[in-house]
Symmetry: C2
Subunit: 395 residues, 2 copies
């Protein structure tokens, strides 16, 4: 088990109607003028933005609005948000939405007090020293950005998708009402659940030994998602299923299940290129990549794949042929993803096999030319994972 | 699932040698003069206190020492600590030890800025408004006080043991080196593990529905403790086992496994009276009370007992007679506790059956005369649990 340092200072407020506390909570943190930052029109049409605005104004706060965040949020809107905040003297940012709105807000929050280009932080040219305080009203259970120290932005015009981890990225509060996710289409619900599972699995696959507690915590979160996701997909208004998924999204990515171990994260890097090129939902891309990555890793190590198969997927260990158990676990994972409506192949996702060399070239490798930490991949291995992801799965 | 609000602002620093960061960490929080508060002579004899003192002084801090905290910490030393801090102008408290030293330090931290008697907080006559900042160097994995919002103090001379939950009780940082627990006697290691299991089980037994994620998280922590505790008892210097137990102690009681559900806590109340009267180790008292409480609850509800038996203790569900599975789970729990050297009966603990009426009378009941939240106990039921705890277990 590795040494670690950990703090999760975000105030999580979870339950029905908590979004109405936005004004009071922001005010208590010293807000005077708030940037209300959000994405699609659905939050406007549902009346959520108006309700949150009312909460802010009711607390005596001034409000500046900036909507229009797209999935896989872009640098353009971030620059616009930074300028707007500076021009208007905004001192607090409230993101209303899922990972995209929150990540865009995190980038704006870091950019406002910084004299240079906020993108410096994302290409590791500079380390953030301060940020505007950030609050969240969560409307999607997926990215876990409501409790995480990370954010992912795509830089225009070169379509470069990069992530940034820093403690200043953690929101001051996150208001989490599971019912706000009840209107999500089934595909987005499933995609969000897949994203959470991937956040856990990235941490699960490690070469670190002596990490039984976090193994178990990872497995616990996975089992809860596996139980709740199909319920939420079938019965979108099931409060308890929505609540399990919403809190699982936070736990999956606030790093509480990854402490003392090095996660892999190659699948995320490989998926980033799919999202950047085809603008697919991040979770859907992960549904295509992660099982392919697991199938590739079968040649290196089956211990954790077997453990996952037995403990999470309910497989019986084949003591004579443990690799069969490992494969059975992957197949059950794929069958699960398919059952909630996720794609499993390039074709189903709308990606193209002939783009593989280009995708593999764009992946962000470490200085040693490898990506991932479990059994790292070179460019040829990345191409092979992408090719496995092209094969049809007829389990 | 219930609404909840949650924040865990403590900075956890986990790994080898982290206690040497005490000075730097305290200084960064604005400390000038530190009360170094600890318990038994073992921390002095091992050189730990000298090492921590050196770290504090090396950071330019003044140090005032107050040792002598006993298990089940007493109000007398708290009053002494408050006076000392005021007289010396102490502005930071560093607890070195386990739950007793930390709880005593928490009480001092609340008492210094309060004009009245700190005990007011513990009898709910007043609500704490401020506290001196508190840091921790942890030397025992058990109480979870290093990350929790709670503290338990025994008031002299009437021997009244009472707990207090408040956000101000959370330490600013906790330095957690698993190797500092390697010198603990086997009995204390086992007693600590039992305490952690009880913290999880108190949260596990709830009437709240739709809490699958926290059910699973509870089970994960229990399984990790069940695996690590016997290893640490047999091989005291096994780093990974000590590390699992140390982090499990935090997770078991920082409430992350209890969110959205109401825990029971009757067993803790019943144990408090044993500790207060016989001065037994808290964990050992819980080993006697918790299985007895489970046996008593068999008449009310076996669903969660079955779930625990199947998922954690590896029992196979008897679909025709689920109550047999529930009982089998309790028996495995008892066999586990016995295997790590814990007592199971009043006799083994040194408690007396004839004291039961007195113990049951002293238990802190709610205004409705009941204790616990799962299936609450009246005084007659409490006496019965104590009586079950007197019976020999020959599984």
């Amino acid at each position: 088990m590795l040494n670690f340092e950990y703090c999760s200072p975000t105030q999580f407020v979870f339950g029905r109607d908590v979004e109405t506390q936005a004004g009071r909570r922001a005010k208590a943190l010293g807000a005077g003028k708030v940037l209300l930052h959000y994405g699609s029109g659905s939050a406007v049409r549902s009346g959520l933005i108006a309700r949150v605005r009312e909460s802010l104004e009711g607390a005596g706060l001034q409000v500046v609005e900036l909507g229009g965040v797209r999935p896989n949020p872009r640098s353009g809107l971030v620059y616009q948000g930074i300028e707007l905040c500076r021009a208007q003297g905004v001192d607090f940012i409230l993101a209303v939405g899922g990972g995209s709105a929150i990540d865009s807000a995190k980038a704006i929050a870091l950019g406002v007090p910084y004299e240079g280009d906020f993108w410096d932080f994302y290409c590791k040219k500079a380390v953030p020293q301060s940020a505007l305080p950030l609050g969240v009203v969560l409307t999607m259970a997926a990215a876990g950005s409501e409790g995480s120290d990370s954010a992912v932005i795509t830089h225009e015009p070169e379509n470069l998708k990069r992530g940034l981890h820093c403690e200043l990225n953690r929101p001051r509060f996150s208001l989490m009402n599971p019912l706000l996710t009840a209107t999500l289409p089934a595909y987005q619900t499933a995609s969000g659940a897949t994203d959470m599972m991937a956040h856990v699995l990235e941490r699960y696959f490690t070469l670190e030994k002596g990490v039984d507690l976090t193994d178990r915590l990872c497995e616990a979160v996975l089992m809860a998602i596996i139980k709740a996701a199909p319920v939420a997909v079938k019965n979108p208004e099931d409060y308890d299923a929505r609540a399990q998924l919403m809190w699982a999204s936070t736990v999956a990515h606030n790093d509480s299940v990854g402490l003392g171990r090095t996660g892999d994260w190659a699948s995320h890097q490989l998926e980033h290129e799919l999202s950047a090129k085809y603008d697919v939902a991040h979770g859907a891309g992960l549904a295509v990549i992660f099982p392919a990555w697991m199938r590739y890793q079968m040649r290196n190590d089956t211990r954790l794949l077997c453990q996952l198969a037995v403990r999470v997927w309910g497989c019986e260990l084949d003591f004579e042929h443990p690799e069969r158990t490992a494969l059975q676990g992957i197949e059950r994972f794929e069958a699960f993803l398919k059952s909630i409506g996720m794609p499993l192949t390039f074709e189903e996702l709308g990606a193209k096999e002939e783009d593989i060399p280009e995708l593999a070239k764009k992946v962000k490798y470490a200085d040693n030319g490898l990506v991932g930490n479990f059994y790292p991949l070179d460019r040829a291995a990345v191409e092979e994972v992408y090719r496995i992801a092209c094969q049809s799965r007829d389990n």
